[in-house]
């Protein structure tokens, strides 16, 4: 009895430590973004000065808009192409299908540093060069496998005779697809879209390689700013990003459970 209680206690302590390790630094940074002192002096002198200062920081703001803009376009392109690809992979049998499906996974596993280097070399070789357009291309390529994998996983739970049932009831092919498989995979498509957005918006390494001066994304701009000298503006912008990313991730988690019931 006492042993199990000790083990339970240890388990709780372990979980507490993990959570503290994960969230304490983030929490401290967020709190410090509201501290007027740039040297993290305690007690905290509450203010929103750094957020105001951030509003005047042109390069950070423009980089943030670039990031949002690229993430939105990446999401739209990768989700559309990825869903179509997943449907095709699900519906049709063709030569090399297995190989094609296997080839979707390495880009997820290959370190972004290597992918980024490879893209930089390739884009220069074919004349695409660097800049926002190159970042966009790179992000779509990075996000696409995530969308295909997530939508495919959802499609695998779709029973093909449901579509046949719809046809037997007089539905046209389009009516059948729209009213039966599409609603079924919608949570997967939304989850894939959120993944695509996150991959793009949080992307540093590939963006770093592909940015041109003045044409960069928020994570790269933050890195550049830190190298010049740390200011609590970075805390402020990081806090905003964390709130955004976490909202997105919580939404993803929610949509993954969507329609989980059969």
């Amino acid at each position: 009895m006492t042993l199990t209680r000790i083990l339970h206690g240890l388990g709780r302590a372990y979980v507490g430590l993990v959570l503290a390790f994960l969230y304490l630094p983030i929490l401290i940074m967020a709190v410090m973004s509201f501290n007027a002192s740039p040297f993290y002096q305690l007690p905290i002198d509450w203010s929103t000065d750094w957020f105001s200062a951030l509003a005047g920081n042109r390069s950070l703001i423009s980089a943030a808009w670039n990031s949002l803009y690229i993430a939105a376009i990446t999401t739209a392109i990768a989700t559309t192409l990825g869903t179509a690809a997943a449907l095709a992979l699900h519906r049709y049998q063709f030569r090399g299908k297995k190989l094609l499906q296997a080839l979707l996974f390495p880009p997820i596993a290959i370190p972004w540093l290597i992918t980024g280097t490879a893209m930089l070399i390739f884009f220069f070789a074919v004349g695409i060069g660097r800049g926002l357009h190159a970042i966009l291309l790179g992000h779509v390529a990075l996000a696409l496998p995530y969308v295909i994998v997530v939508v495919s996983a959802r499609l695998r739970t779709f029973a093909p005779e449901l579509e046949e049932a719809a046809l037997s009831l007089g539905a046209s092919q389009w009516q059948a697809t729209r009213r039966v498989p599409l609603p079924w995979i919608a949570p997967g498509v939304i989850a894939g879209a959120l993944f695509a957005f996150a991959v793009s918006f949080d992307q540093f390494v590939v963006s770093y390689f592909l940015s041109a001066p003045g044409q960069t994304t928020l994570p790269v701009q933050i890195y550049a700013a830190i190298r010049k000298g740390f200011t609590p503006e970075i805390n402020a912008v990081s806090t905003i990003i964390i709130v955004l990313s976490m909202t997105l991730m919580l939404l993803t988690a929610r949509f993954f459970r969507f329609g989980g019931e059969k």
Binding site: A159, E161, L162, E164, A165, A166, L167, S168, L169, G170, A171, S172, Q173, Q175, A176, R179, V180, P183, W184, G259, E261, K262
Partner: protein, 356 residues
């Protein structure tokens, strides 16, 4: 309502023959059972009639018109799938309404017909449920309501009862038959369960390796099997093999069996007969006057190897030099015969069915 005809239909998957020159008339308003083991082509035939697959050769007509080139959605059929294929993202009522809504049926008429259909399958009041909240038997009823609410010309059932447990299945057999009679729809029913086929169908077609082995009303098939396969797949049968001698079947041990009709002559002179296990009477050899007891023209001596008590009947598995035999006896209250006892089997010539 409409009759369905299948003429000379063949279907090949590469070198595999799924159906070979199958011709069947499915009568208007009838309940037709397609019976066969797995791989016999029965489901392929059903899918071809539905329009999910097309024949490589032959023609399909529904209500007199050829439908081979007609896509599924224009054939006006209703189909119940093996696992019901209910739309999981829709309520029961929306599932049933689907076929009406894609045809643009007015709202008021639609809800009336949906509720009528749910009443017909005795699920009135469950329209708001989701499929996953229903039992297997209820899902089955929803699938049936969804298939008939559009007033299709033909109802196609693909082993619709196979996912239910035995007690529920028997109940649904009766129910399905009642609904089919009430609606009067031409129904084609695929099953591998011979009992189900016998009790439900007006006519049965037995398929084997993509060919139609035999077809007709259940009693006719049971009493006149054309082949050993037909005799053993639909019901139980003892098969006796031997040579044809002056119209008798001469067994290897010299026994002569009288048959119901003349044995068909074959080039090799070999012949075979089937005898249903319930047509054979059994007497212990040492019973007084056993050897003279009437019971039929045909007699054999054997030994009881195993006795299986099944309540209303008793099955005897017998050792006989020509192979194992089976006899079903009604449980009439007379003392059962012990295992190991020597017995005399007797049956009539009328029960001895020559096989082709």
């Amino acid at each position: 309502m409409a009759e369905v005809t299948v003429r000379g239909v063949s279907r090949f998957y590469g070198s595999h023959v799924a159906l070979q020159d199958v011709s069947i008339d499915f009568p208007d308003g009838g309940f037709y059972g397609l019976l066969g083991p797995s791989g016999s082509g029965k489901t392929t035939l059903l899918r071809i009639i539905a329009g999910f697959d097309s024949p490589d050769d032959g023609s399909i007509t529904i209500g007199g018109a050829d439908v081979v080139a007609t896509p599924v959605q224009d054939r006006r059929i209703g189909m119940v799938f093996q696992n019901y294929a209910l739309f999981p993202n829709m309520s029961v009522a929306d599932n049933v309404a689907f076929g009406l809504s894609v045809r643009g049926t007015p709202k008021a008429e639609m809800s009336q017909r949906v509720s009528d259909a749910l009443d017909l399958v005795q699920l009135g009041g469950l329209g708001g449920r989701r499929p996953h909240q229903l039992s297997g038997g209820q899902r089955q009823r929803v699938a049936l309501a969804r298939a008939i609410v559009t007033r299709p010309r033909v109802l196609l059932l693909d082993e619709p009862l196979s996912a239910l447990d035995k007690a529920l299945r028997v109940g649904m057999q009766v129910e399905l038959k009642r609904i089919q009679r009430e609606v009067g729809i031409t129904t084609i029913f695929v099953t591998h369960d011979q009992e189900e086929a016998l009790t439900m169908s007006d006519r049965i077609g037995i398929l084997r390796d993509g060919r139609l082995e035999q077809e007709g009303p259940p009693a006719e098939l049971y009493d006149n099997p054309v082949s050993e396969f037909a005799a053993t797949f639909l019901g139980d049968a003892n098969i006796f093999r031997g040579r044809s001698a002056n119209g008798f079947l001469l067994l290897e041990d010299g026994t002569r069996l009288r048959c119901r009709s003349a044995l068909p002559a074959t080039a090799e002179g070999t012949a075979a007969c089937a005898v249903r296990p319930e047509r054979i009477s059994l007497r212990p050899l040492d019973a007084p006057g056993a050897s003279e007891t009437a019971g039929g023209e045909n007699r054999l001596a054997a030994r009881v190897a195993k006795r299986i008590f099944a309540g209303n009947s008793i099955s005897y598995l017998l050792d006989w030099p020509g192979g194992p035999l089976k006899v079903f006896a009604q449980n009439t209250g007379s003392p059962p015969i012990e295992e190991g006892a020597a017995v005399i089997l007797a049956w009539t010539a009328e029960s001895t069915l020559p096989l082709g």
